[in-house]
């Protein structure tokens, strides 16, 4: 029966908010002493997607941050959902990973049940219903893109469960930088090479202009024919090559004088301590 017909059923699973008040009190008392509660690792991120002539193109950077420290220099933010549906995840890394894995298994079950390839709209529907159920506590923003029987589609889903369907989308902390590149140069029905360049430039804008994004650009090209996953398509933020050296040859510094002073040492005390080898 529809869930709305059983209002008295207790909702099991999901987040339990019993300790919220206690946590708030603890946090305030901690901050009085000067300590901060530990924060979940976020991916910072610039992710972008666009619809081009033959299908959908998804791009992402590869930096995962732990507050102000880079936790992973080459993480994978483009996740598999179905043979022709992929998803970029931004926000809290664990939440994005779990959400996309759940979607992938739901889609697999759905495919076996119906005997037909999945629709991108179906993935978006399930994703947004799950995120809404968790009231934004599941901090993952995703861009879902893919090709199905009805054509090529691109959706973005926000942590609270709202979604947009547009020809080009960007998410993450570097979204503003990336979307400015799209707004300038996007045209409908672009060719593959132009589209790859455009997405690469959008992600590069995020890598250079946003602290939370960095390292390489990953691309994922989804067309009717199949999927091409270009890991490390571009590495704009290469480590610079060191020009000079701080190692000096022996003899660079001239020895002027040498003096030796012997020190006499006497044994004052001898004690034996048994080691605990049991």
């Amino acid at each position: 029966m529809l869930h709305s017909l059983n209002p008295s059923q207790q909702q099991t699973g999901g987040f339990s908010f019993e300790n919220s008040r206690r946590n708030a009190v603890l946090e305030s008392s901690l901050s009085e002493v000067g300590y901060k509660a530990p924060k979940a690792r976020k991916t910072g991120t610039t992710i972008a997607g666009m619809v081009f002539k033959d299908g959908v193109l998804l791009g992402a950077d590869t930096r995962a941050t732990d507050d102000m420290v880079v936790a992973d220099k080459n993480c994978m933010k483009i996740h598999y959902i179905a043979p022709k549906i992929y998803c970029c995840g931004a926000g809290v890394a664990a939440d994005a990973e779990m959400a996309t894995q759940m979607m992938a298994s739901n889609v697999e079950l759905h495919m076996l049940n119906t005997g037909r390839p999945p629709l991108v709209a179906m993935v978006t529907r399930q994703l947004k219903q799950m995120l809404f159920r968790y009231q934004g506590h599941m901090g993952s923003s995703v861009i879902v893109g893919g090709v199905d029987v009805t054509g090529a589609h691109l959706y973005s889903v926000y942590p609270h469960g709202s979604y947009d369907k547009l020809p080009f989308l960007t998410m993450g902390s570097g979204a503003a930088a990336a979307v400015s590149v799209f707004e300038d140069r996007f045209k409908p029905n672009m060719e593959l090479e132009d589209a790859k360049k455009l997405v690469r430039d959008a992600i590069a804008a995020g890598i250079f202009c946003d602290l939370g994004s960095g390292s390489n650009v990953d691309l994922c090209i989804i067309t009717e024919a199949g999927v091409q996953f270009l890991r490390g398509y571009d590495k704009p933020a290469q480590k610079g090559k060191r020009e000079g050296q701080y190692r000096y040859k022996p003899g660079t510094t001239a020895v002027l004088t040498k003096t030796e002073t012997p020190l006499s040492v006497d044994v004052i005390d001898e004690s034996v301590q048994m080691m605990d080898t049991e």
Partner: protein
């Protein structure tokens, strides 16, 4: 060995008999014929049609409130044969399943998936001792966006299958053999020919000439994929066409 130790309950509830039969399920099939009506469904090249008799048993009855054709989704329709109350229950369940699917997945359910879901639910009734199987059979019609016209039947045993043509009800064996004969040569069935073949099947098997008020016809076509029932004047036009051909 447990032979014969069911103490004769195998005829009363849905447990196996020593020969491996489920008597309750077989009795459910007999209950379908009890209603006295027969329904026919035929799938043509771009049309699927279901026809059933409209028997008004009481002169005081308002015939416009009596129907065996139901719309499950805007694009999937069905005809129910058998127990009236069981039919309504199954139709309601089908509508709920279709609605939940649309809510959970964001697109309309397909006829074969809906039929399989109902068949799975009917199968549960054949396994639970405390529930009896439903004494009704559903013939479902739709235009599938990828597969084109489809005709599915789902019975109390939990069996479902796609058909080119099928019949259910009191005279189903005669109707099925009539349809087999007519479709043996795999004729090309246009919209009108499909409807008229279904009506002729019923008239020949029941040996009666129908008036437009004694038939209910539901169709879906590729041009108009929404399920609808034909009005009396449209049924009259088909009856006239059949009479002229003879």
């Amino acid at each position: 060995m447990s032979r014969g130790s069911n103490a004769g309950f195998d005829r009363h509830i849905t447990i196996f008999s020593p020969e491996g039969r489920l008597y309750q399920v077989e009795y459910a099939f007999k209950a379908i014929a009890q209603s006295g009506l027969t329904s026919v469904g035929i799938r043509g090249t771009d049309t699927v049609v279901v026809v059933t008799q409209k028997k008004v048993p009481d002169k005081l009855l308002d015939p416009s409130t009596l129907t065996n054709m139901f719309k499950l989704t805007p694009r999937i329709g069905c005809v129910m044969t058998g127990h009236n109350a069981d039919s309504r229950s199954q139709v309601h369940r089908a509508r709920v399943e279709a609605g939940e699917w649309k809510y959970k997945f964001g697109y309309d359910i397909m006829a074969d998936v809906l039929c399989r879901r109902l068949a799975d639910i009917s199968q549960v009734y054949t396994q639970n001792a405390e529930m009896r199987p439903l004494g009704c059979c559903m013939i479902m019609v739709a235009i599938d966006p990828q597969q084109g016209p489809v005709l599915y039947k789902c019975d109390p045993a939990g069996y479902y299958c796609g058909f080119r043509a099928t019949a259910v009800g009191a005279k189903q064996t005669e109707a099925n053999s009539y349809l087999e004969k007519k479709l043996k040569k795999k004729p090309d069935l246009s919209h009108d020919r499909t409807v008229q073949l279904a009506i002729s099947c019923l008239s020949s098997v029941l040996s009666m000439d129908f008036k437009a008020s004694e038939l209910e016809i539901g169709i879906v076509t590729k041009d108009k994929p929404k399920f609808r029932t034909l009005s009396e004047s449209e049924i009259e036009a088909h009856l006239v066409a059949i009479a002229e051909r003879e």
